[in-house]
Every structure is written in C-alpha cells, then in structure tokens.
C-alpha cells in the first residue's frame, strides 16, 4: 500500500462510522436501508448523514434527502480519478414527481415557441445528428453550503455536490437550427419530465440567453462517461452548459421553449439568485443589494488525499494531491502554501482533459519537526481569476470557492 493509499484508508475509517451503537436516538429519522453513517464535519452540525446503496443505478452515496433525492458524492471518490463515475455522481432534484420508467422508443423532445417549425424529436432523431463530446464539471451552485458561517438554510452539502464527466451528445445549436429560431428570440428555456407534487407550484425551468444557447458548446447529452445517463442524473438527455452551475443543466430534458421576451419563471427571477457584488458576497443581515441569477462557475481546488485527520511523521516527505477546476475557463496554475498564505509554491498539473474539466494537481511537502502542518491550495484560472482567501457569504449559500485549508498532525 502506498503512503497515499494508507492516508486515504485512515480517512475512510475515521469518517465512515459503522451503524452499530449510534442509532438509538435517531432511529426515528433514518431508514432501514442505510448501510452506515458518515460525519461531514459541518461547523456546528448536525453533520451525520447516512450512506446508502439503495438508490437504483447508484453506488454508495451520502443521503442528504430521500424524496426528492439529494445524494452527495463521498469525498474519497475524488481521489481516484478526475472522472467521477456515473454511479457515484451527485444527484439533486427539486420536485418529487420523477418518472421511474422511461421508454426510449416513446420519448420525445419538444422544441417550440419563437421558431419557424415546432419539433417533436425522438431519440433516434437526436442520435442521427452530429455527435460532439466534451469533459465538463457539473457543480451545484449550493455545493459546500453546509460550510457557510453563519450557516444558511437549504441542502446542507459538504463539498460533494459536484462531478466531472465526459459528455456525449448533440449541440443545442444544431437542434435549434432544425427548428429555425425566429428573429427577435432572446432566450431558450429548458424543462424536464419532473413535476411538482402540488397544483400550481412552479415547474423547474432554466433559461439561457439565445446567443449562449447557440454557442456550439451547450449540448444535449445522451451519454456520460461513455454510458447512458443514470435515470437520477437525467436519463435520457440532459442539458450540458459547460462552465455554468448545474441548475442550468436540466435533467430528463423534454421541452425547449424559444422565448421572445426575458424569462420570468420562479427559478430564474426569484430562486437561484446571488448578490451582484464581488464574489457574490454580502454581510449577514445586509439588505438592499441588487441580485443576479447564479451563472458562471468560479475556480476551486481541493485536497483529496489528506485531511485534518491525516497524521504524518516529523520531517517526512508527504505526497499531497487533489483536484482543481477553473470554472468558466481552464486551470492556469494550482499553488500550495505551507506558511498561512505568505508564500506559494507551484504544483504539477495532471493531464489536461479540457478547459471545463477537473484537473489533478500534485506535489510533495516536507513535514516540520513538530507541531502541525497547515496547507492551503489555490487555483488561478486562465482568465486570471484566483480563489479568494476569505470566504464569501450570501443568504442562499451559493458559489463558495474560498481557498481550502487542511491541518495535518505531525507526530
């Protein structure tokens, strides 16, 4: 076993609390199908979540909510590859009415609105169009919400509401061109087969500006890492919006509406909005600021083989690695600091899978003779944007991208 594997397995032992002995007081809230529990280390808690393999087409996942499903990727998955396996890819649904069966011969994608020719496209229609593929990070805008301080309401994710995959599909532009977008179109609104339980509740929908929709990168994916998508990740087709947060990546995509006026639906006009301020940050309690929809991803980097629980020997040479992404552009550099951010040293970048992909970084650091070894990692993207040293804050718990820090124990 390599040093890094030992570190990872120590991490697993610490974080994966076995079921026995702790269920008494919480039995009323955890289903029988939980395998074990994980501690997400959220400031102030509660941070215990069940781990389960009970969701179809998914491996072991952290349950944030059973219905509608919110499933988080366990952290050790990110150390294995820059590609997140389909069966470990995070899951997030807004409404509980989600089809549990889907007949590929009957499925149709409707294209309508401000177009010359409304379309009803079958899957064979889509599969017969030119294919494109692209590697891109899909990250929930509320990823890491549970780490906000002061804490905010919403899904209490740790850092696992993100994943990276190779997406294969057809360009949204090609689909729109088949319908013929009329002059005066301003946006394309996407919605899926999921529905609210109650009458009159707003259906989940997200729009893209018409030029963005036609940029040739936005695609309708029918494959993820070379396989059809798991149903919970949006089978049979999902919108891929490279460099943008996952709320735009509409799952089980069934309708494209070309609009001739700005979209005012609830999930664009009211929900998924952030302060129009640097780093989308305001002071807790602050009011009176302008808001804008969540949109472009911002750069992040993470440690994947060391945590606050990692122990190293005095003077040992410690391999340290992780993943980074540039957000709406590529990774320019990833740097490590062992002196509280006073100086930064470069790290080695792994294979470049494309500007929107996770990229592995790695380096080595020598542990001090005694005390703690505190490390920070910082990504700068090819637009020159670097992660901030101070955490941003907003009431929605969106867009966290502060420089990550770990404190290894030297004994």
């Amino acid at each position: 076993m390599s040093v890094s594997e030992r570190l990872t397995s120590a991490l697993d032992r610490r974080r994966f609390l076995q079921r026995g002995g702790i269920i008494g007081g919480i039995a009323a809230t955890f289903p029988a199908w939980a395998d074990s529990y994980i501690d997400l280390d959220l400031p102030g808690g509660p941070d215990r979540r069940e781990l389960t393999t009970a969701f179809p087409q998914k491996g072991q996942m952290i349950v944030q909510r059973t219905r509608p499903p919110l499933l988080e990727t366990p952290w050790n998955v990110y150390d294995r590859s820059v590609f997140t396996p389909n069966d470990r890819f995070f899951v997030r649904w807004h409404w509980a009415v989600i089809p549990e069966a889907l007949d590929v011969t009957a499925f149709r994608l409707a294209v309508r609105g401000h177009v010359n020719q409304p379309l009803s496209l079958s899957l064979p229609d889509l599969l017969s169009m030119p294919h494109v593929d692209l590697v891109a990070v899909c990250q929930c805008s509320g990823n890491s919400r549970g780490l906000f301080q002061p804490r905010v309401s919403g899904a209490q994710w740790q850092n696992g509401a993100m994943g990276n995959a190779r997406w294969t599909g057809v360009r949204l532009r090609d689909v729109l061109d088949r319908a013929g977008v009329k002059a005066g179109a301003v946006a394309v609104r996407s919605s899926g087969l999921d529905n609210p339980v109650t009458e009159g509740a707003p259906k989940f929908m997200k729009p893209l500006d018409i030029d963005h929709a036609r940029d040739g990168e936005v695609m309708l994916a029918f494959q993820m890492n070379g396989e059809q998508l798991p149903l919970l990740n949006g089978f049979p087709i999902r919108l891929i919006v490279p460099g943008w947060y996952a709320d735009y990546w509409v799952k089980m995509l069934a309708l494209l509406e070309v609009l001739d006026a700005p979209d005012e639906n609830y999930f664009e006009k009211t929900a998924y909005r952030v302060p129009d301020t640097p780093h989308a940050s305001v002071k807790p309690g602050q009011t009176g600021f302008k808001t804008v929809p969540v949109s472009r991803l911002v750069p992040r980097s993470f440690f994947t083989n060391v945590t606050d629980a990692t122990t190293v020997k005095p003077g040992a040479v410690v391999p340290v690695r992780g993943i980074a992404f540039g957000g709406d552009s590529g990774v320019l550099r990833v740097e490590l600091s062992a002196d509280d951010g006073r100086s930064w040293q470069p790290t080695d970048l792994g294979r470049d899978e494309g500007r929107y992909s996770f990229r592995q970084w790695s380096t080595q650091i020598t542990a001090p003779r005694s005390g703690a070894l505190t490390l920070q990692v910082r990504c700068t993207n090819t637009n020159g944007e670097a992660q901030p040293a101070e955490p941003s804050w907003n009431g929605g718990g969106f867009m966290r991208n502060v420089i990550e820090r770990v404190q290894l124990n030297v004994v």
Binding site: G24, A54, A96, E100, V104, L127, M129
Partner: protein, 339 residues
C-alpha cells in the same frame, strides 16, 4: 350511493369467513428491515434505440421509500401531515439551528409559491416544532413499537374492549373480497396510526372505527400499526373490473383530469404510496376507495381538508368508480389475464 351501507353490512356478516380466509393463507410474512447490500438492479426493458453508434435502453426502476417521519409525538402531527406530502424529513432535521424568523420564511415559501396544501393556522405549530428541533431530536429515543403485542391485539382485541382487528381486516391485513374494509397490510404505520387517532377524535367519523380506536391506547396504536405495516401479504384474485372503466381510471390516476392533477402525483407511481404519510392505493379494494372518496366529498372525513377534500369534490361519480376500478387491479394476479 348504494355501496356504503350495504357493503359494510355484507362485510360485517362475513366475519367468520374472513377469519377462515386468514388461516388459509400460509404465505404471510413479516418483512425484516435489513440493510440493502447492493443497488437494486434496474429492470431494463427490452426496448432500445440506436443511432450514430450509440444505443440507449429503456429503464424501469424504483426509488427507495422511507417511512420515517418527524419525531416528537403529537407535537409533530402538523409537520408530519403537512410537509411529508412533498418531501421527506431528513433535510429539514439536518438544518443548522435557524431562528424562528428564518424558519418562517421557509414555511411560508412552502405554502406560496410552492402551494403545499396546508392551512395557515398550522404555521405557528410547525414553527414551534422547527425552532425546538434540536431538543426533540435529543429526547426522541422513544419506545420502539412491539409488533408481537400488535399481533395479539389483531387476533384477540384488548382488555379495554377493542375487538380483534382480524374480525374485519383479517389477521394478515388483507381484509376480504367484499371491499367493505380496506386492505391494511403494508400500509405505512405512521399513516395507519394517524387514522386511528382521527377515528378516536372524530376528525374521521366512522360508526364502526371510532369506538374501536377509542378503546386503543397510544402504545396499542403504535404496536398494531407497526404490525400491519410490516406484513407483505398477497393480493386477492378478484374479478377484473370493466376494461373501459379501468382505462379511464388509469388516465385519471396518471395524467389527471382537465386540471392535470393526478392521483399518482401524491400516491406514487401506480399508487404505490409515499410513506410515511401517503397510503398506497395499488391493490386497495375498489369499494373502499369509492366509499372513502364519497366520505371526503360529503365531509365525514375531515383529516385532509386542503388536499383530499378538495380533490374528491372535483371528481364525479363515474370518475370515482373509474379510479377505484383502476387501483384495485394494479396488483391483481389476474391483471395480465384481463388485458
């Protein structure tokens, strides 16, 4: 409607036969809650499409259900009844400590714009619960239900005067082919317990069940409902309903009427239920579904004023017969033959 009184009389008269039926069914089993070792394999239908070197296969699967609810006894009744229709309890219980004002924003968002069907009068009760969640959680190491004691009540009744449930519902909770009494086997314990409490209080009025429920203690209710919830019982091979009626019922169940609201929205795909609050309808007796919808319409059942009472009033007599006929045959062993 003719079915209510006459069917109940018929069912009550058939008590002896019901008990014999229960004894004659050897396949009753109590489900053991066991951790799932691996993901259930999706039943991939045989159909597929191919193009450009890519093949996609149809998928049919089932998401896991949870029958867990907000702990805390009667103080949690409002949050359980009002909130679990649309979402499970876990994410709410996992929030960091929030102020009453913060919770109020969340709860009001659920009513509008999210249209959760509960009355504004429930909001203070729900907020009381939410601001106190951490205390409730730490004190909720409550008594576990005793299914063996539940089985004794089902077979023998109670000293306080409750008759054996098996007289009408059969020892395995399948009741009987008259359809006068609902099938209880596998129904969520939380749902069943809520109904018993409502029978006792009169929120759900029933000449038969109200005195029975009043003769059960809260522990009796917990035990007997846990017993019925754990049973996996077979479905009776009932005579298939009229095909046109079943088809119309399926349409209402899956796609809804003119307003688009359909039964499966809340009751789950094929009416399979959404524990812990929403009962299954699949395999429930048509007579019982018909009777219950009429009770909603006529106001004898008052324990879902903002959802079922409203919905039932939108259905006409033919719609009611149709959805009832559809759900009865969903799990029938004769279903395939009827097609």
């Amino acid at each position: 409607m003719a079915i209510s009184a006459s069917a109940i009389a018929r069912g009550a008269g058939a008590t002896a036969g019901v008990i014999l039926l229960a004894i004659a069914i050897p396949t009753r089993s109590i489900a053991q809650p066991a951790p799932v070792a691996e993901s259930p394999p999706p039943t991939t239908a045989s159909s597929s499409v191919t193009g450009g070197g890519v093949t996609l296969h149809s998928v049919s699967l089932q998401f896991p259900r949870t029958d867990h609810f907000f702990p805390g006894g009667s103080g949690a009744n409002a949050i359980n009844n009002d909130c679990l229709i649309c979402h499970s309890a876990g994410m709410v219980l996992d929030q960091a400590k929030l102020s009453r004002a913060d919770w109020q924003i969340e709860v009001e968002k659920m009513r509008d714009p999210f249209k959760a069907p509960f009355p504004a009068e429930d909001i203070p009760t729900i907020l009381d619960y939410l601001v106190n969640i951490k205390n409730v959680m730490s004190q909720s190491a409550s008594r576990q239900p005793d299914t063996k004691h539940g089985a004794v009540i089902v077979a023998q009744g109670t000293a306080a005067g409750a008759p054996p449930c098996a007289q009408c519902h059969a020892f395995n909770g399948v009741s009987d082919a008259s359809g006068a009494f609902p099938r209880l086997a596998g129904q969520p314990a939380f749902y069943l317990a809520g109904q018993l409490r409502d029978f006792a209080s009169g929120v759900r009025a029933s000449a038969i069940m109200s005195p029975v429920a009043k003769a059960l203690s809260l522990d009796d209710i917990a035990d007997v409902t846990a017993y019925f919830a754990a049973i996996e019982a077979p479905f009776l091979p009932l005579k298939p309903g009229d095909r046109a009626l079943v088809n119309r019922g399926e349409e209402l169940a899956k796609a809804g009427g003119p307003e688009g609201l359909h039964c499966d929205n809340c009751h789950g795909p094929g009416g399979s239920g959404e524990p812990p609050v929403i009962p299954y309808l699949s395999g429930q007796y048509a007579h019982y579904i018909t009777f219950t919808l009429q009770m909603w319409q006529e106001g004898f059942r008052k324990n879902s004023p903002d959802a079922m009472a409203v919905i039932a009033k939108k259905l006409d007599d033919k719609d009611i017969l149709a959805v009832a006929a559809y759900y009865q045959q969903v799990n029938s062993p004769l279903k395939a033959a009827a097609k």
